[in-house]
Amino acid sequence: MARYRPEGLQDAFAETDRTSAAQTETVPPADATAAPSEPLAPSAPVAVPAIGFVGWLRWAWRQLTSMRVALLLLMLLAVAAVPGAVLPQRAQDPAKVATYLSNHPTSGPWLDRLQMFNVYSSFWFSAIYLLLFVSLVGCILPRTKVHLGGVRGRPPRTPRRLDRFPAQGGGTSTEPPEQVATAAAAHLRRGWAWLPFVRTYRVDVHDEGAGTWSVSAERGYLRETGNLLFHLALVGLLVSIASGQMLHYRGQAIVVQGHGFANAVTEYDTFEQGTLFRASTLVPFTLSLDGLDSRFDSTTLEARDFTAHVTLTNPGARPEQKTIKVNHPLDAGGAHVYLQGNGYAPQIDVTDASGKLAFSGSVPFLPQDNVYTSKGVVKVPDVSGTQDQVGLVGFLLPTAQKLPIGAYRSIDPQPKDPLLVLSVWHGNLGLDTGVPQNVYELDEARMKQSVDASGQPVTLYLKPGQTVQLPDGLGAVTFHGLDRYAALDLRHDPTLGWVLVFAICALAGLAASLFAPRRRLFVRAVPGADGGPTVVTAAGLARGDDVGLQGELDRTLEAVLGQGPAAGPPPAAPPAAGRQTPQPAARPAPARAPRPVARPGARTAARRDGRPDAAPDARPRPGERT
């Protein structure tokens, strides 16, 4: 086998490799580029009993690493990713999944059993991409090995027949064949105009005996390099992402203006970590919120800008003033700190029936809409004596407007005329039941709502600075003013850099593998019959679709023949002049003398030419195994 290639890969290059390798080993076949022989067929089912267990394994491995299976797995992966866009996903939105389940009591549980709400961590999705990556490694590693071995390889010998190649050309020259061949080699060795010292082609000149000379040239190792780089980078990407899953942590904290928090697991409202993350590695910096600016569009009221001004104190360092904006996270202690949300925290005091201050603080209210109508709960457990615990539930309207029906609504997200609208509950807040509670919701199970004489729930309205008595003699509540708060999201993922590096490698490899042309050119010069002009034939082969191939062949011929092709097709091999193969344009320039060969490369070639052609080619070919 001349070159590893996955089962089922269609590749003109690999196919000619095989035939030309065969050519050097045995008698040259009449048609060097004859239709490719069938791929090494996987053992037919009939032969299976004979191959045994190991044979089966080998067969399965070959199937798995074949192009067809890669294709199938890719399509499967695409299909398997779709349900996640259609059905709600637990990882993204558990509440939506719960709603879906209660709306679809029959189909829901079945879908759940099929892991349709955890598509991207489901066993079937994982199975597909893991198989795909096993297939990829099985396919790419042998190719990489062969390719690394082939980096110093030489182009294949010039095939016997050049008339079956997709790009063709020919002509006659008054120079002897050897000169034509050296001129062609010199032209192909030139390198790029913009990168003069890098060779485009690897070129070999062959003396084929009987006065016939030929040149074979190959370029485009970059294409295969790029392809391998791309596939290997995908593996690197997968490994990095998986490690990130294990090593990351993410925590959320709501920080009210004037307050701060320290980077410790207990300080977060929610904290989530990968299996390999150790909480002891958290860098104990502190972060406090000095202020928060927000801007909104004056007519549409849409958000335009949020900036959190914070003070960051790293352990053993002086406090630093920093800002956090959307799109501009702050780096602290190896983590990124994001501004995920913001809102208002009314400063509220509650005194109980005995006049003792039972609660004092800023309570974050969660915005519900784009005018920051915000919902919140004040829980007052520490009342004196046997008094009922108090819960205040309600809304903050940053700029309140009274509607004709008597209710209020907010008309502006900025706090131009804040109003606090509260209803009052009393009873047992249920804070000591041992069940963790949502701080933004009141557990009403053991609470009673205060009602007025007519049985209507009592609603309190407070403006900043106002104090209102609570009903049922529960005490009083004071609304001092508004603070801002920021919802901060901290994330640490040590593999981010790797993910980026592999992604860029993948992109670069992809571009190289798709756009770097891979070509082989062959030129043969045969002495003319009866001392006539030398007959030159040339052919080119490219991997994939290559518009530039014929042009390159034509330019080479033009450089070698100078005066353009002689009239009439050469006798030996009529150029198959399809419409894709225009002859090189006739040039008025006189026949050029062969160029003096001054390159060291040319000299090497000349030495190589000295070898008698009949001798079997002893040089190992890339990837050839004996």
Partner: protein, 387 residues
């Protein structure tokens, strides 16, 4: 008039120019079809019976004859002697679908379709250029009016997408007009522009904080460019499959349909091998179209890969994670995998040619769904259409 309104006016003007181009391409196509039809009618006149099957065979003979003519013309006088040999090689190559060929898409005027209308092509070309210029001006003014890069909502996305698609068309058609490609891309352009103006339009204004980033230019700009290029690649793949069916004489309207054969008979006039599709003989060969489609899709795929990576980087900045299986991310991922499968299909024995084109259909459908359905129907972090 405000800059924003002027921009809208320019977009309307561009839509009008593209409509004229569409009509011109259609006229050109009709002429070519007419000419092809007449020619096969002349050929058919000699036959005693014009049975269905005979007509098919007839058309195919016609195809071959034209191929030969085209080959002779392409090679020119210098190789006239080898013309029949050339035709043989070309036929040979065509018969082995996997075999590599050079493609001649760039082509020369010698390959231009018989019966084409030079005048219509001239009008089509100049109105295409005019439309592109008007659209560009409209996009620029839109950006000026909003005070930012104009790729923040679906309206703007559509404008720029149409701009890229029509520019790609103009480049592909630079030397040789493929009337059908013009019709497809222009119809798409006009439809998209009118839909955008009527259904997706939002006032030009600044954006929400999450979109305030240079990634808006890079990520979204490249995504639009990729979409525009995929559009032309898709059109080429459609044409490829039609041409392939004609070349190989494959029409589902020839063999009986089990239960609804009446319908089939009513449609026989529209069989791909019939006279109505005579113009298909004038477009490049299926092999060349496949090559064209591949090149466009390869460029599109690299850009799409970039979009994916840039989107992840931006998401890491804006949302605090580079990947979160947001609906838009899923759509982009699925489209990416489908186009990756397409590239693999093209190198897998037995999956080239027509079958590979089907991958393009699927991939492009996913790209379109990702833009329309995901933006408008599904809610996710990408719901920035402003509608």
């Amino acid at each position: 008039m405000s800059t924003g309104n002027l921009s809208t006016l320019l977009v309307w003007a561009a839509a009008t120019a593209f409509t004229i181009a569409l009509v011109a391409y259609a006229v050109d196509l009709a002429r070519i079809a007419d000419r092809a039809g007449r020619r096969s009618a002349v050929a058919a006149a000699g036959r005693a019976q014009v049975a269905d099957d005979a007509a098919v065979a007839d058309d195919r003979a016609d195809v071959e004859a034209q191929d030969r003519v085209a080959v002779g013309a392409g090679v020119g006088a210098s190789a006239a002697g080898a013309a029949s040999g050339g035709a043989r090689v070309a036929a040979d190559v065509g018969a082995r679908p996997g075999s590599p060929t050079t493609s001649a898409i760039a082509g020369s005027s010698a390959q231009a379709a018989a019966g084409r209308s030079a005048k219509a092509e001239g009008i089509a070309r100049s109105t295409t250029y005019l439309g592109i210029a008007l659209l560009l001006a409209g996009i620029v003014l839109r950006g000026v009016a909003a005070g930012r890069w104009p790729t923040a909502n679906m309206y703007e996305f559509t404008l720029v997408g149409v701009f890229v698609a029509t520019t790609a068309l103009a480049i592909v058609q630079r030397r040789r007009v493929i009337a059908f490609l013009g019709v497809v891309v222009m119809a798409f352009a006009v439809l998209a522009l009118v839909l955008a103006l009527n259904k997706l339009y939002v006032q030009a204004e600044a954006t929400q904080p999450a979109l305030k980033s240079y990634w808006l230019v890079i990520h979204v700009g490249v995504a639009i460019t990729a979409t525009g290029i995929f559009t032309v690649g898709f059109a080429a793949a459609v044409l490829q499959v039609m041409r392939d069916a004609r070349e190989t004489g494959r029409s589902h309207l020839v063999t009986p349909w089990r239960s609804v054969d009446g319908l089939r008979r009513a449609l026989t006039g529209w069989r791909i091998t019939g006279r109505r599709f005579g113009w298909l003989d004038q477009v490049p060969t299926a092999r060349d179209l496949e090559a064209l489609s591949f090149r466009l899709n390869a460029v599109g795929f690299v850009l799409w890969t970039f979009t994916l990576i840039a989107g992840s980087i931006w998401a890491e900045h804006a949302w605090g994670r580079y990947w979160g299986w947001d609906p838009k991310e899923i759509g982009t991922f699925v489209a990416w995998v489908v186009y990756a499968a397409y590239l693999h299909a093209r190198t897998t024995r037995g999956w080239t040619g027509r079958k590979a084109a089907y991958f393009v259909y699927v991939g492009y459908a996913v790209v379109l769904m990702n833009f329309t359905v995901i933006n408008l129907v599904v809610t996710g972090k990408h719901s920035y259409s402003g509608i």
